[in-house]
Every structure is written in structure tokens, then in C-alpha cells.
Amino acid sequence: MNWVTDAITFLVTRQPLEILALFWYFILFDFSRYVLLDNIVLTFYMLNARSRRAEKELARRALFRERPLISVLVPGKNEGRHLPQLAASLQAQTYRHLEVIVVDDGSDDDTADICRRLLRKGAIHRFFRNPVRGGKASAANLALRYADGRFVIHLDADSHLREDSVETIMLPFYQDERIGAVGGDIRVKNVFASVTTALQAIDYMKSISTGRVVSSSLGILRTISGAYGAFRKDLLDRLKGWDVGPGLDGDITLKIRKSGYKVVFEPQAVCYTNVPDSPRKLARQRYRWDRSLVRFRIRKHSDLLSLRNRNFSMHNFLTAADNLFFNFLLNFKWWFYFIQIVVFQTAYLKFVLPINYLIYFLSNVFEYLMVLWLFGHTIRRQEILLILFLPLMPLYTGFFLRGVRTYAHIMELIWKTSFEDPWNPFRVSRIARQREGR
């Protein structure tokens, strides 16, 4: 109790500039960008819900009038056990004119048998098998090659969709013909498998989904998730599909943007997917994801920031700049802030650190309440219960994820370790690295 009184006294006796000096990272960056800006945008987004509903209704009618074939591409390795549930969720869709194309990328389990069984039952429509693994991009490109649909949905095999999800993800294409791709909302399937999955479930809704609603509203969405995204087929054909990853989803999104098309996020198009259930597996996954920021955004698509680029676009510039500033530069800056507090504010440490934790916790609570408002009827009971895990979020995002991200950025900047990632076959990574060298 004494500490609380002391802390309040400590705060009220500080000058505003002192407060800024002690909490500048939160106030200048995290609060202004992720609390203030995000929630202003979200509020406008929600206030526009009625007019959006009317637009969506018109789009829905157009979709069902035209009834285009949609090709659902599911590339993967050793994912057979997940496919029956995915196929069942596709069969239960409100929009039925689908062709499901599964590519088995060198599985060494019973995936091929499962796929052939699903094919015989009509639960999937096309099945291709590469006896030797070629990597995610080549598997997706093989499926794309034989897709006949006007639109293409790329799905991870270990996911399944809400029954109105395909219908919903298609609507933006009928609202604006300049839209080239639509990202679906990824939610965690195995929410309570472990504390790690519960924290990721909050993270997916609070940071990833909400963040994408904001970026999409501002026209600076930079990633259509590989787990669930819809694309115009003619556009993917023109781009000749995906390039070699890891991070191929962010890469294709930027390529679509460069082609002059918009990319948007549709929060009501829900896809449930399994997430890593241990900190170790999660760290490995995020290490892979985070390196792609350096590999693709800093190296491959650095031209987005160039004013001399003849295809310069302010939206694309802001997309890249937002990403680099908040996810790359500020990531390092946070460590600078942390060291500054620990080394130079030793006397105040017992107040500064707990207060920082508290304000991050409170902003998490506020943001999560916004999430519940934003996702409305698609929220499940178990996702409401996640509120209980919110006190752990500052540790999870502030230290764990930030630690992995920083390590990934350094490793990729100095050693280009993404080219050694076993996510791609060695022979593919080797060639991709040689190309990078050229």
C-alpha cells in the first residue's frame, strides 16, 4: 500500500517534461501510434459500419448474381491430418462455387492417401503431389497454375473457416474493382492449448487483426496473411505467382501494391488456425517471420521508399515507412529506452518499471475492449475469457516477442540467415541466396 501511495506521489510531483523523459517511449510512440491513432481510426471505422453494411449488401448481391468460381489453394507438407476438417468447413460455406486444390509438397506421412480419399469423396477437387519438397512458393504456384477460378484463396492446411467466411472475403472485390487482394482475419483455433496459445490469441486479435483494420483503413496494409488471403486470379497470373519465401505473403502483398492495386483487410472473414503451443516453437516461427522484414522490405522492396521511383506512390511509401519506423527502428530504440531507464534512472527504477508495466497493461485492456467491439458477432465465448490473460501481455509483447524480433533483425541484417531456414529446401535457399548476391 505504501508503494502505491509513493508511486502516486512520485507521479504527481513530477513536472510534465520529467514525465515525458521517464515515459517517452510509451507516450511518443506506443501510445500515440497504437492507442491513440489506432483507436481514432477504429472509432471512425465502427461509426461507418452502417454505410459499409449497405455497400456490402450490394456487393453480396453482385457476388451471388455473378457466382464466380473461386479456387481455394491449399499447399502444404505433412498436413493430411488437418485436411478433413478444412474440407468440411469449405463444404459448409454459404458460398459454394469453389474448387479446392491441394498440393502435397513432398509429404513423408499419409497425407497423399488422405488427399486421394478426400478427392474420391468429392471433398476436394484437385490433388497434386510433388514427391520431392520444393517449398511453399512452388507448391502454391503449382496449385495456381491449375486453378480455374476468377478468384483465388490461399489457405494454410491447418486452418478452417467460419461458414460465411468465403462469402465475406469476396465482398471487397465487388465494392471496389481496384482491389487486388483481401486479407482474412486469422484467429487462433487452439486458444486454450497452453498459456502461449492464449497469449497469441490475444495478440492475433489485438495487434494483428486490429492493426490490419487500421492499416487497411489508412490504405497502408502491408501483409495479406498466407494463412488466409483472397486474390484476383488475373493479377496473380500476371505476377506469375509467389516468390521464394520465407515471408512470401508480405512479398506478394507489396508486389500487388506496386502493380497499382489496393489491398484491404476484411475483419469479418474469419479463419481459425493452429498456433505454436510452446514458447520455443513460437520463437522459431516469429524468428522466421521477423527476418522477412529485413529481407523483403529493406532489401527487395526498398524502392518503395525512393522518391525517384517512377512508380512512386505515397500510400506505398507510407506502407513501407510505417513498417520500417515502428517495427524496425523503434524496436531497437526500445532497447535504448530500456537501458537508459535502467542505467540513468536507477533511483526511480522501482516506480518507472512497474508504472510502465501498468500503463502497458491498461492500454492492452483498452485495446482488447476495442477488439470486442470491432469483431462483434464473430467473437466466441472463449475469446472473451482471454481477458484473464491480459496481465501477461506486456511481458509477452514487450520482452518475449521484442527479444525474438531484435535477434531476427540482427541475424538477417548481418548474416542473412533467412536463406538458411529449413522452411525452404536447401537447394532452393542456396539459389535464392546466390540471386541475392547478384
Partner: protein, 467 residues
């Protein structure tokens, strides 16, 4: 006196060192001589020779259908099914004398075995199974299958094909029946698929489009370019030295280094559908039926040899000797009647719970040895065994044969101990009898079990019967 008959277009009186009578043609059984020792057919007209051979083999008289038939002449390229159907050839080959002598020896051996059969001139054999057994017995040979276009089933048994008016399913059914009765032993030769509609073996297996069922397909190799992840068919990359990736415009260098061929697809030339799993369909050349392979009949093709039981049946007829003696001497019941009695007894015990009845079993192992060693004297042994059984059993007991060598006895109003004693007595008596008369030990197995009201007929029999 038996004679050698030449049947053909010529009129020889002497063929090599054989005196022959010539017959120009034979169109029916009535025209066949009954006193033939050997039929000699001219090989100049293979079809005519086959037709005459069929008339001979389809005769019901053992003295006719079992006679050796040989071909004479020097025709080359005779159909294999004709060559394998006859007992030999008389040719002008280089080793003619040696070959001819071997043939004569073979014919002589066949004759000896024919003569050992009872009533070969008087009693006709109407049963085609018995005819096949007798034929194999007199030839002392394995029955070999022959695959070829001569038979609609794709496979036949040339040695016995002529016994059948036409080579169709009945040939396989008869041989299968003889095998199931333990008269022939099957040795695996191969497996084959047959049309599910007409049993023809002449099928065209073809890959068809899973979408439109057209067999007009071609294959495309896919290329995966490592640098950019592009996947396309080979033609998209161009030809020869100047192959380039259509996505990144880089030239292809070396397979396995900068690109690979991850898979092959089948493209339908009719509807354009592409898949990696073209459906396999079969088209029957005979009836035109198109079907997936899983609807075909799969059949094992066997080689056949005569068993000792088969030998016994060939010599003494198809009726089971021991079983018929038991029926006559001991009053053994047909199995179905015995099962009926047993079911009633189980029901009676269940209802009243006072009686104690038992089921006994005795099995004679290597019964075939009795036939093999004793031939027609086996009958005497079986009559002796029957006498022993009759002495051990009471009038109220009921006996039936489960198989040729396993017998069941329902010992009514007999507790377990009594039944065990009865079966032991039976075992001792039969063993002593066999040892005294047969100078060999046969394996005799006995068992008994108290019948309970909770038993089922099948369960009880299965439990007591040796595996």
C-alpha cells in the same frame, strides 16, 4: 485285340513301326472304334485334329476317352494347346528312334494304368470330374495351365480342355470343385483378372481422364525454377539451349542445380482437364464392357496334381469310401441331420437341466496314406474300423462325419468322464487295429466335451474339432 487307329485324310497301313487301321473322318462318338489301343491324328490340319480329339475325350467310355492320342506328321508351328493336349508326337525329327521309344514307353505306362481300372469297357463315366481324375491318374502328370488366345478366359488346361464341349467357366468350376474336395491339390501358378460381365481375360487397361473418361491423354513434365519459385510445364520454358524461365527470364542452367522436375501431370486432349491421378479403366475386348479395375474378377491360376484321395476316387469312384462304409455299417447320419440332433439335445439339456450328454470326436490323420498304401484293400480296413466303432458305441449314440477324416459322436446321457473313457477305448481299439493290419501308425486324435445348455451347435463343433 486292341488296335492302333490313324484318323486323317491319308490311308496308311504302317506308320513307322506301328501297324495302323485308317479311318478317314470321325464326326461323333458312335464312329469311334471301341477296340482302340492308340489314336493317331494327322497334324496337317490342326483344327480337324482338335475336333477329333474332343470327340475322343468327350466319350463316356473309359476304354475310349482314356486312350492315348498322338499326332503324326511334321507340321511346324502347331498351336501349343494342341501339342499339350495330346500324349505325344510321331515325327521325323533327328532323334526319332529315341523319341519314339520314349513315346511308346509312355503309351505303355498309360495302358497299364487304364487296365488297372475296374469295368473300363462296360461302365460309362458320366461325371466329368471323375473323367478328369481318371485321365490325370492314367497320365501321372501335373495339369498345367496355358495362357493364350485359344481360350476366351485367356487361360486353359490343354490336357483336359477336350473333355469339355467348350472351354468356358465350367472348366474352372470343375477343377475348383475337385480341389475343394481334396481330390486335386492346387499349386500357385499365377493370378489373372477377368471381365466381371463375361469372364473374358482379354482386357485393355487404359488411363482415362477423371473428368470426361476419355483415354486421349498426354503427359507433361513440370519444371520448378528454384530462383523465383515458378512452376510451369516444360514447353513454357522453351526448347534446347535457350530455355528461360517465363517469370524471371533467367536461363535454365542444369537440372537439380537451378531447377528440377517435381512431378508429371496427365492432360486430357478432349476436355483439357489436368490431373496426376488419371483413372485406370478396363475395356473388355469380348463384350465391350468398360469398368474400373476394382470391378474385375481376380482369380488364382493353379497347377493341379492328383492327391491320394483323388487317386482313390479315380480308381474306385467319387463316392467317399470310408464315409459310405460308416453310413452302411454304423448308421452314420448326414451331417445336417446330426446337427439337428445336437441342437435338440442342447435345447433339452437347457430346458430340463438334468441330463448329461457329451460330444465326442475322433480324427484319423493321414487317411490318404491308407488309400495310397492299400488301394482297393482300403475298403477292408475301413470295414474293420467300422466294426470297432460299432462295438464301442451304444445304440443310442449318434455318429456323423464332419469331413472325410473327422467324425463326431453324440453320446447321450453320458457324463464327461464316461465320454472320455469311451473315446479312449475307441482310440486304443482303432490304433491296435491299424497297427496290426497296416503295419504303420496313423495319428488318431480323440476328444470329448460335456454338452451344456448354453452351447451353440457351431461353437461346440468348432471347439472340439482339431484346427
Amino acid at each position: 485285340m486292341a488296335l492302333n487307329y490313324y484318323i486323317g485324310p491319308k490311308a496308311p497301313t504302317q506308320l513307322y513301326d506301328l501297324n495302323v487301321h485308317a479311318i478317314r473322318a470321325v464326326s461323333g462318338e458312335a464312329e469311334l472304334p471301341r477296340d482302340a489301343r492308340l489314336f493317331i491324328l494327322d497334324d496337317a490340319d490342326a483344327e480337324a485334329a482338335l475336333a477329333i480329339l474332343s470327340v475322343i475325350r468327350q466319350s463316356s467310355l473309359p476304354g475310349v476317352y482314356l486312350r492315348p492320342v498322338v499326332l503324326v506328321g511334321d507340321s511346324v508351328n502347331l498351336p501349343a494347346h494342341l501339342v499339350q493336349a495330346v500324349d505325344g508326337r510321331l515325327t521325323m525329327g533327328s532323334a526319332e528312334t529315341y523319341d519314339r521309344q520314349r513315346l511308346y514307353d509312355r503309351i505303355h505306362a498309360i495302358h497299364e494304368r487304364i487296365e488297372s481300372l475296374p469295368d473300363i469297357t462296360r461302365t460309362p463315366d458320366r461325371n466329368i470330374g471323375l473323367k478328369v481324375l481318371r485321365f490325370l491318374y492314367t497320365r501321372q502328370t501335373e495339369l498345367h495351365p496355358l495362357s493364350g488366345v485359344h481360350s476366351p478366359q485367356g487361360t486353359s488346361y490343354p490336357a483336359v480342355d477336350p473333355f469339355f464341349a467348350q472351354v468356358d467357366e465350367s472348366l474352372f468350376q470343375i477343377l475348383g470343385f475337385l480341389k475343394s474336395q481334396g481330390l486335386l491339390k492346387g499349386i500357385f501358378a499365377s493370378k489373372a483378372y477377368f471381365c466381371g460381365q463375361c469372364q473374358s481375360a482379354f482386357l485393355n487397361f487404359m488411363e482415362t481422364c477423371p473428368q470426361c473418361s476419355s483415354p486421349d491423354l498426354h503427359s507433361d513434365d513440370l519444371i520448378h525454377h528454384f530462383e523465383c519459385g515458378f512452376v510451369g510445364n516444360e514447353a513454357e520454358f522453351g526448347e534446347g539451349e535457350n530455355r528461360r524461365c517465363p517469370k524471371c527470364r533467367l536461363g535454365l542452367r542444369q537440372l537439380g542445380v537451378d531447377y528440377d522436375k517435381p512431378s508429371t501431370v496427365s492432360v486430357c486432349n478432349s476436355c483439357g482437364h489436368t490431373s496426376q491421378d488419371p483413372q485406370v479403366a478396363t475395356l473388355c475386348y469380348r463384350c465391350g464392357a468398360q469398368a474400373p479395375p476394382e470391378d474385375l474378377l481376380q482369380r488364382t491360376i493353379w497347377r493341379y496334381t492328383l492327391t491320394a484321395l483323388g487317386t482313390n476316387a479315380a480308381r474306385f469312384g467319387l463316392d467317399n469310401l470310408f464315409r459310405s462304409i460308416l453310413e452302411r455299417e454304423v448308421g452314420a447320419l448326414p451331417l445336417e441331420t446330426f446337427r439337428h440332433f445336437l441342437a435338440k439335445e442342447i435345447g433339452r439339456i437347457k430346458r430340463y437341466g438334468k441330463s448329461q450328454s457329451s460330444l465326442g470326436m475322433f480324427a484319423i490323420g493321414e487317411l490318404e496314406q491308407v488309400y495310397l498304401r492299400l488301394g482297393d484293400r482300403a475298403k477292408e480296413i475301413f470295414e474293420e474300423i467300422s466294426t470297432v466303432i460299432r462295438a464301442v458305441l451304444r445304440d443310442s449314440d449318434v455318429i456323423a462325419s464332419l469331413t472325410d477324416a473327422i467324425f463326431l459322436i453324440l453320446l447321450v446321457e453320458t457324463p464327461a468322464a464316461g465320454a472320455q473313457r469311451a473315446m479312449e477305448r475307441l482310440e486304443t481299439a482303432v490304433t491296435e487295429l491299424l497297427e496290426a493290419n497296416f503295419q504303420a501308425t496313423l495319428t488318431l486324435t480323440t476328444a470329448s466335451r460335456l454338452v451344456s445348455g448354453e452351447d451353440t451347435v457351431d461353437g461346440l463343433i468348432e471347439e472340439i474339432t482339431p484346427q
